[in-house]
Amino acid sequence: MSDIILETKGLTKHYGGVHALNDADFVLQKGEHVAIMGDNGAGKSTFVRQITGVEQRTSGEVIFDGQPVHFSGPIDAREAGIETVFQTLALADHLDVPDNLFLGREKTKFDWLGPFRFLDYKAMRKDTMGALEKTGVKIPNIRNTIERMSGGQRQCVAIARTASFASKLTIMDEPTAALGVQETAQVENIIRSLKEQGEPLILISHNMRQVMDLVDRIIVFRRGRIVANLRKEETDGQDVVAYITGAKTGAEYEGAA
């Protein structure tokens, strides 16, 4: 098998007459961290939604882990190994940290009881502590409910949830958009630890410093098309901004937008 974890060929999405995503060719290597940048409405989120099965693509191909895939929904994608941290946090506010981490995949005892099988709280708490330590997330009391936590802690729980399950690919859609300085740093630490563990990541972000700090490669979207594919070492902030605003277009994408 090759080293490519995710590949899209000619991925296209039209909403009626609106061409939100056109002919996107994208390759992600195993262990690679890639940032997707672009203005609002450039097609970043649309691109991610086609990969994770939240929406059904108009045309094109998605190849995940060597197999052409057609996810019917985000749960499908998750089962295949794509974990997504959405802009709107998918956490249950009234439950505590282990409950949220294990939501939908609880550890249970007495499985013959079917829907009334017992939860193994002890094992889940232990694994939660492990997962949080591993990702460096600081939570004073994991048995507090999510509604009692700060925005940063919530985001960290959401990300730890993603990271703590052996996934083949993690996608984060603006994970630090609503966070303070310290909280952002914590989330970035988690992302670095993912890198050390060799887990591939697609990061959607508007934060140039963050992107330059964290990722190997930057993909720029503009008006529904990929207009640049830049290695971090070969570019700088100004350069990327030029691509985002349309002052420049990558040589191989000439005539695309």
Binding site: I75, A92, L103, F116, L119, L132, K138, R148
Partner: protein
């Protein structure tokens, strides 16, 4: 250092500042209400120095007014059984208005399978079916009742989960349908004279034992099983639950089925206790059951509440109802006062939650 096992990153956690569980507040409210009625009993000029819950006749065997305690707990038990099911419906973010009429319909149906052939040597004057339905073993009417409850609950749940109509509308429709079934079953005639075995189910203090036993089972289910956890998750954030791979639709059907089966079982106990079934049974029960849950701290927006809370809420409900009678409040005013109390319970709870949210 108890907190080290519950936190990461070495951040301080003040164990003392942990919020008090809501159930403790309800318990204190219960005591407060008892005290209020005791004081009223001493203060009101026409009360003749009686005590509300304590013995005033200088008996040597008990300090309590056992007769009243017994009535309170018995009154609460049957509606309490319904409230247990309604609790998990509300926690899941729904509402069930059909439980009262379901009690009426189930009582009529079940009693038809529980009749005895001869009453004092004469043929049963209220017989619904022919000879084959007389003197059946107790288990048959009970199973018929539970099956009917499960059937109604499955319809409620499926409507809500698959057609996505609001639970309020689905169960309001079922409210009318069930009352209709109750009346159509015998064209309004009562069904009476059950077998001895059936009558034993709700005899004496039996409803109380059923209530306590079922409350225990439901508490375990809500607290320690996957069904309970998913019920909270669905009520707390349905999208998150769905994204996590929980089959939300199937889960809702199960929640409503359990609720309706508990209401059906309450009908069995009620008809057994009264030795008769009438189409008008269970009027207002759905509202009382919801009130018990709400007084017990179950949030109507879903995700919050507990069985212990509902049991305490049921006790508060019973004590208030009995207290009104004790202070000789006119029956016409009792309903109004009850309504006012339910509204204040929700307002108080909302205020408390908002305060808790801003503090953290």
């Amino acid at each position: 250092m108890a907190d080290t096992s519950h936190g990461t990153g070495g951040l301080p956690f003040d164990e003392k500042k942990r919020s008090i569980p809501g159930e403790v507040n309800i318990f204190f409210a219960l005591i407060l209400i008892v005290v209020i009625f005791e004081v009223l009993g001493q203060v009101l000029p026409y009360m003749d120095n009686q005590s509300f819950l304590f013995d005033t006749r200088d008996r040597f065997d008990s300090i309590f007014n056992e007769a009243r305690l017994r009535i309170i707990i018995l009154q609460v038990s049957i509606i309490g059984i319904i409230a247990l099911g309604v609790t998990q419906v509300i926690i899941s973010g729904g509402i069930d208005l059909s439980s009262g009429p379901l009690v009426g319909a189930t009582a009529m149906i079940v009693m038809s399978f529980a009749q005895t052939e001869f009453v004092n040597g004469n043929p049963n004057p209220k017989a619904v079916f022919g000879e084959w339905a007389f003197d059946l073993p107790v288990l048959i009417p009970v199973l018929v009742g539970l099956a009917f409850g499960a059937f109604i609950g499955a319809i409620n749940g499926s409507l809500i989960a698959y057609t996505r109509i609001p639970p309020f509308i689905a169960t309001l429709g079922m409210f009318l349908i069930c009352r209709g079934i109750a009346q159509a079953w015998t064209r309004g005639k009562p069904v009476s004279f059950p077998t001895e075995g059936y009558a034993a189910l709700g005899k004496g203090m039996m409803p109380v034992f059923w209530f306590i036993g079922l409350a225990f089972v439901l508490h375990i289910i809500m607290r320690y099983t996957i069904h309970g956890k998913h019920t909270y998750a669905v009520g707390s954030n349905e999208d998150a639950a769905r994204m996590s791979g929980i089959n939300v639709q199937r889960h809702k059907v199960r929640v409503y089925m359990i609720a309706s089966m508990l209401a059906a079982f309450a009908a069995v106990i009620l008809s057994s206790k009264n030795l008769t079934a009438q189409s008008g049974m269970g009027i207002f029960y759905e509202l009382y059951a919801i009130a018990m849950a709400v007084i017990g701290g179950v949030s109507l927006t879903g995700g919050r509440g507990s069985i212990i809370g509902t049991v305490l809420g049921a006790m508060v409900f019973g004590v208030i109802q009995s207290g009104f009678t004790y202070v000789k409040l006119d029956a016409f005013f009792q309903l109004m006062a009850m309504g006012a109390i339910i509204i204040s319970a929700v307002v108080l709870d909302k205020y408390r939650q908002e305060r808790a949210a801003t503090r953290s």
